[in-house]
Symmetry: C2
Subunit: 397 residues, 2 copies
Amino acid sequence: MNAQPPRPAFAGWLSETNDITARFLAAGGVPGLINLAGGLPAPETYPGEAVAALAAEAARESAETLAYGPIHGLPALRDAVAARFSTPEMALGRENVLITTAGMQGLSLVGQVLIEPGQAVACQSPAYLGALDAWRPRRPAWRPIFPERNGFDAEAALSGAQFGYVVPNFSNPMGRLVGLERRLELAEAAEATGTWLVEDDPYGALYYDSEPLPRILSLSGALRPGRYRGPVVYLGTFSKEIAPGLRIGWAIAAPEMIEALAAAKQGADMCTSPLTQKIALRALETGLPEAIRPGLLSLYAKRRDALAAAMAAHLAGLFDWEVPVGGMFLWATAKDPAFDTDRLFEAGLEAGVCVTPGRVFDPLGEDRRSIRLNFTLNDEAKLEEGVRRLTKAARAM
Amino acid sequence: MNAQPPRPAFAGWLSETNDITARFLAAGGVPGLINLAGGLPAPETYPGEAVAALAAEAARESAETLAYGPIHGLPALRDAVAARFSTPEMALGRENVLITTAGMQGLSLVGQVLIEPGQAVACQSPAYLGALDAWRPRRPAWRPIFPERNGFDAEAALSGAQFGYVVPNFSNPMGRLVGLERRLELAEAAEATGTWLVEDDPYGALYYDSEPLPRILSLSGALRPGRYRGPVVYLGTFSKEIAPGLRIGWAIAAPEMIEALAAAKQGADMCTSPLTQKIALRALETGLPEAIRPGLLSLYAKRRDALAAAMAAHLAGLFDWEVPVGGMFLWATAKDPAFDTDRLFEAGLEAGVCVTPGRVFDPLGEDRRSIRLNFTLNDEAKLEEGVRRLTKAARAM
């Protein structure tokens, strides 16, 4: 036969996507490379034996767990999530909860229901790479917002946008907290402008040095009594509290938003596996996240301290950073404004260490001065050695 | 506080979506209602004990199964799917396979990578409701095609479209086979025009009366030797061969298409649960689908016969149909062109039976004359009683 005729073009967004996640994953397979780039939990924290028992029990309830599940999720799991996130000031019911195929699907569904091409998304910047990936196919106009900065005007930030996007607990990539006063301003600005406010909270359980601050969802709910009808769309996941392999997350929002997200979920994957949902439900009922948490927090706090110590010993002349009080990441910015962290990423790979260049978190793709370092995956010795390799690579540039 | 300000509008496609799936699911909860509407397997066929053992074993491999998995799927499962669908004339490798969160996600990802608003999709009509749901957010222009009809011109059907969509094995909703000659014409037309051809095959294992016909994928692969690089995008699932609750499916295609689909999957749910992937892999390795199949085929063939007999006894004066030789559905068209199956759907609900009106499968939303009846979920007595109720409702119209 002759040469094949040309195929129809792929959708335009594909030419704008980044290959950084694929490169991280490929880097993970290089022998001896120290991977500080991903956002991975420590695999030794995964409760394999506990999940094995729950999984076997769940699979035996096969008429429910091996069947198609309801689009919105198992009713009992929706109720359990509603109960877990209700506060004295805010009542949540099943109608406020959609179960998602982990946190990433929550982001994707938000994009499906709220973005038409060219519409504004007020996005905390630098922003979670996965959120940018999830929304790029919908072609939004990015409006970067900076809720950690002094002088931030929440109403101006949200006004006229389809939605605002914030990660108030240890934002990925910066690892910073949005303070209580700013959270309240955001809740009130969403109420005043009508704009939806997506509160993405994968790291909310990972406070190492203090008690958790109230969620923006809770502050928003306290503004009006009764069942939640407000503008916050709260996205959660078990990926960091139990294990990412379950692929179980949830959206909490006003019922009209839950119904819209469910319509998008129907066309995305019909339903989340009832088998893994039932495992997550039994895990909640038996207190598995609470049983794991002390060990998780102590392990991660030690690793955070080890990374910060290694940075202070080797990189203090080149970079500035704040030691994060929670989450999984440390964000460092080069003192020299002309420093190029895209080049450092490449030089690091050659030196046997992988970090994430700041550019990939910039909706406008411009930041060349920052890097993100993960401290949860590797033990203290590897963190120290990773920083040594990075320092060597940086000094050779 | 004052009344809440208006929220930003939802994306436009939401106002065009149908609520029929949600209504089926709600109808499932009505006591005594006989549900002939859905596309559900018989729950007594789900291998709960076998999956329980595989699930416990898989969960204990927690460093792999409870972690994030590769975006493309577990390498061993991709290899197993490649081996299962290779033929003497067509070699598939890991690079030809993407694991999806069941068949619906395969459809959704195809839409993400191939549809820009207004582009043509050549869609077998009437079409699977879920495919229409999956693609509606991308705003395609529907081009209905009729590959079962005499005089079908495959090149004209595909030419200039982004992709063609066919369900050659027992198409949902019509339950018809696309014959061998027509399959070859479609494979050759895709090759000649360059247009992608999506072969959706959830029912390929459900042949009751004969040996399976070759897949269009296999026919396409045989046109050129070597690793598959052709235009067919084959979508499969374990939902009907093992159990839908696993949410495991796959796309088989040219490597460039697999990479595009993987970029979309990254932003959709990052990865499919490695836990349920590992269960599916062990199920394949231990021959679970083959062990289940004889019982499944014999059960479903008996039910198909029972439905056909009840229809012949009660509805022959009102409807025409063909007895399907596989799949899960019987498609019936009213003899009277003025008969309104939207009204029959409502009247059926009142009489205690739920069927699917033809309109929801028509990309243009016009068919008011047909109904789809499922025969896999209910036993013979219920199928007979369901048809009696439907007949009563139809005669009272």
